[in-house]
Symmetry: C2
Subunit: 196 residues, 2 copies
DNA sequence: CTCGGGATGTATCGGCTCGATACATCGACG
DNA sequence: CGTCGATGTATCGAGCCGATACATCCCGAG
């Protein structure tokens, strides 16, 4: 109900502007280069988001030297404010369902560099159990199906299951790597938690 | 611009009802079992869609024997009308961009059983070139990137590229199978088109 | 027998997002 | 000097989802 539930864009914009100030067009290009494999950002959502962030004081328009402005409307370069940086940190700390759904997981992952190790781990595990949930649901539904399925439906199911299983394996590797890295940082806790 | 552009639901509902009449709840369960790996259908879109289809005369409410109705509101079973079957055939014949985008491709594929071989092939090829386009875009954007990317971003890119490449390979196999099947039906055209 | 909880079932609302589109400027090339 | 494609800001209609509300049915525990 607050403002930051389904707002993946907010994190994406804030995170991108954290690296360097940008204007809308560049921002979109950068986001689509970064996450174009998973989703496509459009102006129809980008500009309203920028307006909202501007109104909240999380970003600000950066005025370039007036000499560079020639025509009527100049480029509007947005940069992060101090409040924006705080908000970004806050968003990066959240490890809720909003972090591991399909559309948002990629965005959160893309900024893992700025995320605490513990939060990273929780997001990865959340994503994994989300996918396993889905596997269960589809598998039991498939098992309960009485009728014969045609070969195309079957092939679609097979491909879908395989893709999700692949992502689960990928997550497993990432989680293992994270665990290894964090146990190297804290070698005292290494022997006690060698359960899995 | 017409009514059936982004309306994946229309095809999904019509296609499901073509097999057997259903009511809303069952319909949703069936669709989520069939395509739950790729997307999740919600009532918020399903009921408006049913209403619209009803208004267009493409589906009709099937009245069960009055003896089964006990309480106030009974189950509303929807079935396809003759116009609905026509519309479904029309939708299954279309092989435009609306057939091979991310959200819609799965739905179209799920009903390939009722689709002509030629249309199947065009949809599969359209999907493939769509994905290759995306690969190109991301790869060139990646090549043009000056700055060093952190390991998480890199890993995300790698995983994304690999997933899409995998889907392209899958499509290649499907296309090859389709071509083989259709050349068995028309053996005269076999030798001329052995270009790939 | 009865009472409560979980599955079944229909329906809506607010809000977010997308694709298409409009319009303006700038640099390059003939 | 004209025009074409890339750059750039911005909006609109329409579709879609998550949450939610509310009613009924079924079945097992007490």
């Amino acid at each position: 109900m607050a403002s930051g539930q389904g707002r993946v864009l907010e994190l994406a914009v804030l995170g991108s502007l954290h690296e360097t100030p940008l204007h809308g067009y560049e921002l979109r290009k950068r986001l689509n280069a970064l996450l174009g494999m998973f989703r496509a950002f459009s102006y129809g959502s980008l500009y309203p988001c920028l307006r909202s962030l501007l109104a909240q004081g999380l970003i600000a328009e950066e005025q370039p030297a007036p000499s560079t402005i020639v025509g009527g409307r100049s480029k509007i370069v947005y940069k992060l404010t101090a409040e924006g940086k705080e908000r970004l940190q806050e968003l990066l700390t959240q490890a809720g369902p909003s972090a591991w759904e399909d559309e948002s997981f990629g965005v959160h992952f893309a900024f893992f560099r700025h995320t605490e190790a513990e939060v990273r781990l929780r997001i990865l595990e959340g994503r994994r159990s989300r996918l396993e949930e889905r596997l269960d649901a589809v598998r039991t539904a498939l098992a309960r199906t009485r009728e014969r399925l045609d070969s195309y439906t079957l092939e679609l199911q097979r491909h879908g299951l395989e893709s999700v299983e692949r992502e689960v394996r990928w997550l497993n590797e990432l989680i293992a790597t994270e665990r290894r890295a964090s146990s190297e940082d804290r070698p005292e806790r290494d022997t006690t938690s060698t359960d899995e």
